[in-house]
Each structure stands twice: as C-alpha cells, then as structure tokens.
C-alpha cells in the first residue's frame, strides 16, 4: 500500500511537468492547428534562462555560508522565474513572427518542418561549446549543467510515503496555471478572440480581431508557461542539458493529444494520466517498457475516443 501511494506521489510529480508543458502545446495548437515542435526546446531554454539568471542575481544554495534567508530566496526565485518566462515569451514571439507567420497560408506540413528546423537550431545551437565566456558561458555546450537550488527542499514522510515541497508546489502551480488559463480562455475578451481565431481566423479578422497579434500573444503565453515548467522541473531535477526538452516535449504532446488537443483541462488531465500510467507501469511491470507503454496507452485511448479524453471531434470543413 505504501508502495502504491509512493507511486501515486511520484506519478503526479512527473505528470505535473508533462501537464505544464502540454498546456502551452495545447494553446498553440488550439489557435494555429500547428504542432509547435519547438515547444519542448522552449521548455529547455526556459530552464537554461533560469540557470543563467540565477547566476546573475547571485542565488546562493541553502548550504552556503551564511545560508540565504527565506525572504532572499523567495525574491530571487521570483525574479528568476519571471525573468525566464519573459525571455521565453520573447523567444516564442520571435519564433512565431519569423519562422511560422510567413508560412501561415501554406500547407501545415511546411510549418511543421520549420518548427523542426527551429527545434534543431535550438538544440544543436545550445550544444555548441561556449562562444561567450562572460558574464555567462553561452552556449552552454553538450555536457549537463547543474541547476542552482532556487528553493530549499523540504522532504516529508507521511505514512511511509516520501514527498517534498517541490512536488506540492509543482502541482499547485500547475493547477493554478490551468485555472488561470481556463479563465483567460473562457472569461476574457482575449480568450474569446483566441477561440474565434482558432475556429476561423479569416472571419475573426472580419470582427476586427487583430489576428496576428492574438496569435503572437498565444505564443508568448504558451512559451512563458513552458519556461515556468522548465524551472519547476529543474528545481526538483537539477540536471539540465540542451537535449532534455526533446523527450519532455514529445511526452507533453502525447499528453495534450491524450487529453484532447486544444482543451486546457484536457492537457492537465492528459499530463497527469500519462505520468501516472508510466509510473505504475514502470513500478509494477517491466520498467524498460515505460516509453512503449506511454504510447500504447495513447493509441488505445485514441482508438476508443479519436479526439482524446476531453476533445470534441469537429466535423472537417468542406
């Protein structure tokens, strides 16, 4: 039983990250119907931005002498997180503006290829050995970097189950962001405009909606979310490297599709379901089939519900 509960905690912890990355995926997809292949890499950049910013604002680890006070830690953690979200928001804007917008009226596969190009550019660009040494070493190069301790870890043991403040904060932040997003999408003018653009961007233009600006902001928002996810993940799993966004991005995409791509609660549920499914499969059966199981679950769900758990199957426009 303890083991079962421990797996539950672990699964939720991993699922939270998938969910956070999936939220951005699902938003961009909802508006543009574009698989933003580079989203996982924006997540990676988010973690690296946090890494560099921590360095610049002088984050000290809890075991430093003298140890940083709680207030100092909180302020710096906030600066780092916000800063990284802004940097990634900007990156998202640039990617959309220069790599996707010019191709908006082309076949969608074309944009997928530039998305792959952008993804490669970020991955391999970050793998180059440093060209700049000061004030930061950039690009970071292929070997992993250690993400600084933005937040001291507090471990708790409840009923023999180990969990930490990281897991709890992660889950709360993810839930908060999901609710916030849901509010934006369904309760604000911007959200209504987003949904309109998603349904038919040409007609949205006829309503006076500045379609390009809405799409840009969607990218900014989605990329900022990816940055938040990158930092939350890096705080509890402090190894960052240029390629770590690849698999996370893929899994998050699976989570988004599982939940019904375009649906905000779907992304959340999809992420958590995927995290839990992987966890229990890895824990109770042959763990090496973990990745295979994730995809098997996805395929089975899609065969029963072709639009995902929360998705609505829209009739294709004729």
């Amino acid at each position: 039983m303890t083991e079962f509960l421990q797996h539950l905690v672990n699964g939720l912890s991993v699922g939270t990250i998938y969910a956070l990355v999936a939220l951005g995926y699902t938003m961009v997809y909802g508006v543009l119907k574009l698989i933003n292949f580079a989203h996982g890499d924006v997540y990676m950049v988010g973690a690296f931005a946090g890494y560099y910013l921590s360095d610049l604002v002088g984050v000290r680890p809890p075991w430093a002498d003298p140890p940083p006070g709680a207030g100092e830690t909180f302020v710096k953690a906030t600066i780092v997180t916000m800063g990284s979200m802004i940097i990634c928001g900007l990156l998202g804007y640039l990617i959309e503006r220069f790599a996707y917008r010019p191709l908006r009226h082309q076949a969608r596969l074309t944009a997928l290829i530039t998305a792959i190009g952008v993804s490669f550019l970020l991955e391999f660009g970050f793998q180059l050995s440093p060209l700049v040494r000061s004030p930061i070493e950039f690009p970071p190069g292929p070997s992993p970097r250690v993400f600084p301790a933005l937040l001291a870890r507090d471990g708790y043991e409840v009923l023999g189950v180990n969990l930490s403040n990281y897991d709890i904060i992660g889950l709360l932040v993810a839930l908060g962001l999901m609710l916030g997003l849901q509010w934006i999408v369904y309760r604000t003018r911007f959200g209504t405009a987003m949904r309109a653009v998603s349904f038919d961007s040409q007609v949205a233009g006829l309503m006076g909606i500045p379609v390009n600006r809405i799409i840009s902001w969607t990218f900014v928002l989605g990329s900022a979310l990816a940055a938040a996810a990158g930092i939350i993940n890096a705080v509890s799993r402090p190894r960052i490297e240029p390629l770590f966004g690849l698999m996370a991005g893929l899994k998050a995409f699976v989570a988004a599709v599982l939940g019904g791509i375009g649906s905000v609660p779907g992304a959340m549920v999809g992420g958590l379901v995927l995290g839990l499914a992987e966890e229990y499969v890895a824990g109770y059966t042959d763990s090496s089939y973990r990745d295979a199981i994730a995809f098997t679950v996805l395929i089975l769900v899609l065969l029963v519900r072709p639009a995902g758990l929360f998705g609505r199957l829209t009739v294709e426009k004729v």
């Binding site: 309109a196 040409q202 309503m207």
Partner: protein, 238 residues
C-alpha cells in the same frame, strides 16, 4: 466625388493563373443599398472578400470614407467602420450566441452601448435572445444567418458587406432578413449586398451592378435593372 462611402477602381484578383476579377470598379453612395448580382462564379463573393481583405487583390485601389484602404488588413477596416457578414455565415460554431455578438463589437469599448446594441439585436431577432447562451453550433441555418447579420451590426458599421444573406433559408426567414436590412439601411448604414435572389435584392437596392466572369456587365438603379429584359432573362428566371 464626395457622397460615396466606398469607391473601388480596377480591382483584380488572380487565383493561380485564373483571373477571378478582371478590373471591377464600383461605388457605394453614402446611406444607400448597392446590390451585386450575377451567376455563380461571376466574382461576387470574391469582390466582397477582396474588399474586406479576406483575399489580397492583385491590383486596384479601394477608397473607404475618402481614405485609401487598399493596404489595410481586415481588422483595420472594421475599425474604420466596414463590416462583412461573409458567405456561409461565418458563425463561430464553438462559441455561444452571446459570445458571437460580443465579438462583433470586439473593437468597441463602451460596455453600455454594446449591451444596448445587443438588446436591440435581440429585439430584432427574438429567437437569438432565447438562445443567447447556447453554443451557436446548435442553431438552425436561419438562426445562424440572423446571428451573422446581428453580429455584423454590433460593430456599428458605416458600411455593411453582406454575402448571400438569404441563401438556403425558408421564405419567411428571407422575408424577415430583408425587412431587417431595410430597417438597417433606413438607420443610415450603407449596404453592399451580394444576392442570388436577384429579385429581392433589386427591390431593396438603390443601385445595382451585374457581374459576369469577373467584369461589371451592367449597372443601373434597382428599378432600371428590374425592368431590363436582359436581367429579367438571365437572373430573374423569366
């Protein structure tokens, strides 16, 4: 040339080598109803889409309220007072009736005015009031058409482009829509109307253009065209 809210000269649109519009020039006088009639594929819808920038014209100039708006984008035209209720209604089927109407007023900031206009529209189309919180995908064709007209009015346009407002509707609904259009026109909004139902359109229109294979073939007042034997033969089924 004052008095014209919209002036179009030499508008051309190419579809991959096929010329859909071959130099259309027309004008909409302020406060009047202008109808575009013609057979399928004559270029009526293309004209409207080119005017509201759903399509990018190859050449030609468009002046709206005296300003050259040829290079503007859709939403900028809406800001200047041009609304377009597109062909196939263009309702956001994933949004509720209320949200659709609110989007029509996307660029307006006066909450009270928007609410008042929405109420006015609900009064014009009581069925929409009943369904205001329904997802518009559940509306019938006629209801969607009403919503499309109502939504276009929400931006308080000076010029309203209407594409086939009566397409596929039951006769009473058509009657209702045209009645509303007459009221709208009388309230001072200029209308550019594309219609299959040439008879009804010409009755409403102050002026009309007949399009044929991307060219203006004939023009005149509504009454003149109604009387023209060529028009009667080709478009009024006589």
């Amino acid at each position: 040339m004052s008095g014209n809210i919209l002036e179009v000269s030499d508008l051309r649109v190419d579809y991959g080598g096929i010329q859909a519009l071959r130099g259309v020039s027309l004008a909409v006088p302020e406060g009047q109803v202008v109808a575009l009639i013609g057979a399928n594929g004559a270029g009526k819808t293309t004209t409207l889409r080119a005017l509201s920038k759903m399509l990018r014209p190859t050449t030609g100039t468009v002046r709206f309220l005296g300003e050259d708006v040829t290079r503007l984008q859709s939403h900028q035209l809406v800001a200047r007072g041009m609304a377009h209720a597109p062909e196939g209604r263009g309702i956001f089927l994933n949004l509720t009736v209320r949200e659709n109407l609110e989007l029509g007023a996307y660029l307006r900031r006066d909450r009270a005015g928007i609410a008042a206009d929405a109420d006015k529209n609900y009064a014009l189309f009581p069925i929409l009031a009943e369904r205001r919180d329904q997802v518009s995908g559940t509306l019938s064709g006629g209801e969607q058409q009403m919503l499309a007209v109502a939504r276009a009015l929400m931006s308080r346009p000076k010029l309203l482009l209407l594409d086939e407002p009566s397409l596929g509707l039951a006769p009473q609904v058509v009657q209702r829509i045209f009645q509303v259009l007459r009221e709208v026109s009388e309230s001072g909004v200029s209308l550019l109307l594309v219609e299959q139902n040439a008879h009804k359109a010409l009755q409403l229109a102050h002026r009309a253009y007949v399009l044929e294979t991307g060219n203006i073939f004939m023009t005149g007042t509504g009454q003149e065209l109604l009387a023209s034997p060529e028009v009667r033969k080709a478009y009024l089924g006589e």
